[in-house]
Each structure stands twice: as structure tokens, then as C-alpha cells.
Amino acid sequence: MADTHKNYHPDLPNTWTLARARQALANKEVTLEEIYTAVDKAVAQTNNLNIYLARDTKTLTKAHQRAELPLSGLPIAVKDNFCTKDLTTTASSNVLREFIPPFDSTVVSKLEQGGGVILGKTNLDAWAHGSSTETSDFGRTLNPRSPDYLPGGSSGGSTAAVAADTCIAAIGSETAGSIRQPAAWCGVVGLKPTYGRCSRFGVAAMASSTDSPGPIAKTVEDACLVFEQIAGHDPYDSTTANQPVPKLTEQLNKGVKGLKIGWLYSDIQELSASHKLIEKELAVFESLGARVEPIKALDPHYAVSVYTIVQRTEVSSNLGRYSGIRYGSERSNFGNEAKRRVMLGTFTSAKGYADKYYLTAQKVRTLFRQDFDQLFAKYDLLIGLTSPGFAKKIGATEGQAMFGELEDMLLEPSSITGLPGLNVPCYRDPLTNLYLGLNIIAPMWREDLMVRAGHAYEQATEWNSWRIDK
């Protein structure tokens, strides 16, 4: 077995999983003071990583008020594109640097009603445009696993916050890879729910038809605990589905026995180096009783085109409100990435071009949906690499306008079709301490299936750095 890396330390409650911390609080093995002291210390020690953009100062008081609720008053880090009442929300853009929302996003208020405490707001690629945090107007975040490397993005601040044990769990949002890709690069768990499962209300919109808020956590179980609090129909978001939220924690231990799993993109040459590293990981599922078969899916390169056009079009529309008239900042404060996206999106939706680009992209999107429908007729789950490779070095995005799209190529097909996906760490390079992640995709609304597989895998392997050795 490859050498493992431990985040978990019995004496440092900031390194505990949400499940363990809850249990310990209930058993009075630890106090909220001790947890918050440890977390604050970890935050201070990792200042150089540039994870947090804003911190709440009254967290411990709030924690005590919520101690009896499901999340027990534990500290949660939230990506800075979620509106938080009275706490600056910038989307990592200078355009909103002074913006203090007068309201909470639905996910934030649900978290708080469920007993979570918003510890602070984490860095992201400005407007969530990117897969590195390098487009943030407030500087890049560094990867806690290896600070010469990028954390991925756009939820790189939240995945770094979890990897650095500066919170117990975190919230991110994914449009196409923004939860799973940084989770893979930071060696944490990222759960991208089905589109429409978690409310987008109060989340600065990126691409409205794919934006999906979701949990970033230390283990699959923790991700499920957070998911159960934030998911569900929201009367303020017409695109949330009016159906019951599954109790994922009750499904976790059901295992994968008898499940049919399709191995995605095994035929893509560019991935052969990474595939070599994880081949025996796929065998783990077989040893747990599932059947794994390589499958042929629609070429994900097409998804990059579809996603780029749809997303840029929606971006150009969604950023129109930051016209310089309100929010105190001129339009010149937009960074290059946002400007590029707005220009491209304005072009793809312009009269005379919308048919050629936007509408064609929507048709190809339907083809991807049909492709997945066919695959899910034969398989319960699909598995592939989350990212083509390990985290890239800082500065890697310079001059790479399509950096994110290529990094997220393997995730975009499932993102444009609204499918849920889960990243679980599946390999660690002993030299760099960097991780690879497995992307487990389930049919719409079947998060239960993917967390069963993710949890079973996590239990059966040693890649998760919060694993408690029995």
C-alpha cells in the first residue's frame, strides 16, 4: 500500500471530521471553545495560503446558540459568491469589493438553521470564472497539500479551507467542475448535487442553467451531513425541484454489491498516464461486489464547446447588472477573464449568431443528455477521473484563456446535463503530496447511489487523509 498522509490528529479538533466533532460534542469530549480555538489557530497558521477573504467575528456566540441543532454549531467555510447578510460578499471581484448584502443566500440560511456557523468567506476565481483561483482579484489561493501548486477552482478557497483543516466543512458551487476539480486537486471530498437540488438564490450567478451549490468536506459522510441541511426545494428559486431530500446518511453503508459501474473515458489517450495510476483503484469496486466495465461515451471535447458557448452566453447576461451604476465600482474593475467571457458570450448570443452558436450548443447539450440516458439504462453509476492530472503549478493559467475548460473537460459533460457527481481522493503522489480524484456520476436525483459507492471506496482504501485507523 502506498504511504499515506494523515490530517487527522486526536488532539487537534480542527482536524476532526464533522461526524467525529458532532459525536465528541455530544459526548462532552470536547467543547465548542476548544474547537473554535483550534480552528482559529489553523486559520492564523495558514494565512499565507490566502484562503479567507472575510471572517465573521461572532462565531463562537452563534455556535453556542446552535449547539443543539444537527450541525452542532460547527464552523463552516463558505465560498465568497454566496450572499451573507452583513458580511462582505465579493465573488472575488473588485467590482463587489464593498458589497455587504442585505440578505442571506438560501444555502447560507439553511446551513445556519441546521446549526452551522459561517466562519468566513473563501477565495475563488473572480465570479467563479476559472479552475485555479488565479483569476481572483484578491490574489490566488495556494494548495495546502503543496503550496507551490494551485488548489484548483473555482471553489479553490473552500477546498483549501478543508484540506488545511481551517474549518470542519465548507460550501462551494459548481458550474462545470468548480466543486469536484479543486476537491480532486486538494485531496478532499466534493459533492456536486443534481442541478436543482440546492437553491441558487443569493449565489452570484455564473451560468444559471448549470450552477449548483454543494458541500466540500473531509469525508463522504460529512458531505452527506451538510447536503441534508442545504438541499431541498426553495420557493425563491423556481429551478429547484419540488421533491423530498434523500437521507443520504441512511444510505451510506449500503455498499456497491451488485451495482454496474461504467468506466468513462478509458479510451482517451491523453489520460493514459493518470489511468495507469488508478487502474487498481477500479478493482476496489469489483472487490466490493460491483461490476466495472470500460464504456464508450460521447467525446467530452464536444462538451467543452457546448459548455463554453452556453456558459459565456449566460455570463454575459448575468454580469450585466454590474454596470457601474450601483455597487460603487466602475465596470473597468472587471478582470480580463470576465471581460473575455462577456465579449464571447455577447457574440454567441448576438443577432445573426445566436442560431449558429447558442442554439446549436443547446442542441448538442440535448445529445449529451441522450447519451447519458443510454448509459444509465445500462449502468447504475459512471466513474472516471475528476481531473486529467495532478494540480498545476502556480502561474499555470497565464496566457491560457481556456485553462479551466480543458481542466474540467471530464466534468463538463455531466455538468451541462445537470447530473450529480462526487469527487473522492483516489491517489496521492508521495513526492509532491498531490492527489488525484475519482469522479462518480449518478443519474439525476440519485445522489444516494454515488455516496454509497464513494463511502464504500473511502472505507476500503487509505487515500482519505482524515481516515481514523481502527
Partner: protein
Amino acid sequence: MTVIKDNKYELVCGLEVHAELKTASKMFCGCVNDPFGAEAPNIYTCPVCLGMPGGLPVMNKKAVEWTIQLGLALHCQVNLFSHFDRKHYFYPDLPKGYQISQYDQPFCYGGYLDTSEGRVRITRIHLEEDTAKLLHETVDGKKMSLIDFNRSSVPLVEIVTEPDIKTASQANEYGKKLRQLIRYLEIGECNMEQGGMRLEANVSLRPTNSQALPNYKVEVKNINSFRFLEQAITFEIDRQTKLLHENQTPAQETRGFDAVKGVTFSQRTKESAADYRYFPDPDLPPLVFTDKQIENWRKELPELPEQLSARWQSEYVISSQLTLQLTKTKTLSAWLDQVFVEAKKAEVQPSKLANAFINKKLPLDPAIPAQKIVAQFAEQNHTTEVADDQLDQLLTNLLIQYPNELARYRAGETKLLGFFIGQLKCQLAADVDFSQVSQELRHRLEQLG
């Protein structure tokens, strides 16, 4: 204004009318929809209608139902599949940088409204949100523009016609009838001065007897009364006729209307026409209706003024003129219908009641029970019939008493009728039914002649 009497060209005109709906809350959020009644600016606002980060629209179902009902009342087809689109442009009164509107799948299409000068076909009716209101004021000695978001995202229907309007007066009549219908259905106040209803006319001319559409179109905006609409169209006919006479094609452009001078003026030419980059709003799922839903809405439609007028004419002998004056809203009509039924039961002629309402002798108030209003009328008009033989005697005496006046009356001086009635009044009790008396009097005056 001079109107060129010219038969060489005929008017080709279509109208685009915007009307705010008076739903309790706004189109896409829960804020109060009362921009004109608000006591202060920006009190009916929230993250959604202010276009804050993460604000998401949630559709007002009532506004959708009302739009479809208006469509049905205008004989439209209803799209079973429709959706909202984003219409992009930058203006300080548009907080999101786009207006949620409908582009290629409006709720209603293919209807008509009949005017005395012919049928006006309705192309489409769609629903959108209104913008905020800009106020240009001087604050602390500095000129500035202020924005009031109370109106932001108020539901707004747009009714677009085919270019069927042939005269300025027909445009006026169409507008008035449309406003009457919206008020009748109780879905909008259509207050023109406050902008609750706004008119735009597309005006062009073509050679008389030609069927082809002209190769240009002039859009006249900012018209806030039907009189101004008529003036603006008349002005345009005049202006365009002159140009055509000089062998010039009027420019394709948008023009404003100056109500003070009674003229239109150029605002924007085709070269700078906007590209709104319409695409379906991903925040709002498409709407799918069933035929059954449409049928139910159709059934819920009240009896419309024209149908009512025909029925009241035949059932109650109430003139259509009177009916149109009385039926301002569907609630009022339904109530009057009850009142007339009660009147018949109480052997009171409904037409008399109708007259009493018009002359404000009775309150038009649906809060009052129908029976009570009939009783009130009977009370006011309590009369005693004069016995036939008594009246006969009275009239015989009267005519004998005033032979000169009788002769003059018969010679054509009919206004003397009043004189005779005056004489009778002195001899009869106050509560006598004078309609009966004067009818009989006239009969005698003329019969013996």
C-alpha cells in the same frame, strides 16, 4: 395641424400597447405592486427587483392567468408551451441589465378586436416586467437622476396588433376599447397619465389599393393619451405624405411625440437599432398548459360588455348605449345583473333602474345587496296610480278650462304640454305617477286633434 386630403396613399398602422397589471405583488417577487400609491420611493423593493447578486425571479401565476384571460377575451389562441426570455439592454432603470420578457413563444397570439371602422387583428400578447422609474431632479443645487424601484418588475402586458388600422380615429377607438376591456376584466387600471398604459404606433403609408406592406416603418413612442395618439398618427400621415409626394421614402426610425407642439420628432434611426440578444431565461422553467386549463380559463371569463349589451337589450330593454356606460367592470356587471333580476321580481322596470344609476339617483355600489337597491328605488319612486275614470274627468275639465292653450298646442306649440302638466300638478297629490298622467294627457291632446 393641416391634414392633407389625399387619396393617393392610405394609412398602414399597427399599435403596441403596454398595460400594467394590478396584481397584489410584483411579477417576479413578493414585493407590493403599487408604484403609484407608494408613499415614498424605493419602499417596495427586495434583492430580486433590485437585481442584486443571486436574486432570482419567481413567476406571479395570477399575472400569467390574467394575461391569458385577456387573450381569450380578445379571441386569441393560447400557446400550450411558452417561456420567458431575457431581453438585454443597458439603462439605469433596468437593474439586471436585461428585462424578463417573452420573445418567440408569447402566451397568446392570433386574436382580434372589432371597432366601428373594422376589425383589428391582434398578433400577440405577452407578459414582461416593467422597469424602474427615473426622476431627473435637482438635489442640493446639483442636477441628478434618481431611480425609484417601486415600479421595477411590476407585471406588464404588451398587446401587439397587425397593421390593420386604417385611420387615426380607428387607432383611438381601438385603444379606448382595449382599455375598457382591461378595466372590465379588473386586471389593470390603465391610468394613462401615470404610465399604467402606454401607446406606441407603427405608422407608414402605401398607395391606395395596394396590398403590399410599405418598405419602411416609423415607430412613434411616448404617447400617453388617446387624443395624442390620434394627433401623432395624423401628424405622421401628413409628414409622410409630403415626403412621398417628393418621391422620398420616409426613414425607418423611432420618433417621439411632443404633446405641447403636437409634432413627432426623430429619436433613433435604424442604423443604431438595438440587438437585444434574446435567449430563454434559465431562471424560469418553461410553462406548459393543457387544453383543459385553457378551457377552464375560458369558462371563468365573465360575460363581456358586447354580449351583455345584446342580452340586456333583449331581456330588459336597456339600450346598448346605457349598458356601455354602466358596465365598467365585471363585478359591477354581475351585480347589475342581479339587481335587474330582483327588479323584475319586484315588478320594477330594469330600464328605469338603469336610468336612475346613470343619473346618479342610485349608488352604483356592488357592496349593497341587490334587493336593497331595488327597494331603495321603489321607495324613491313611490307613486299612486290615479284611477282611470278620475283622470279622464280631470283631463276633460282641463281642456275645457283652457281652450286657447289647447288650440295653440294643436297648432304646433307643443311646448305648452308643460303648462298643462303644471295645471294638473296643482290638482293632484305629490306621489302621483306623473309618467302615467302625462302620457294620457298627451294622448288626449293629440287624439282630439
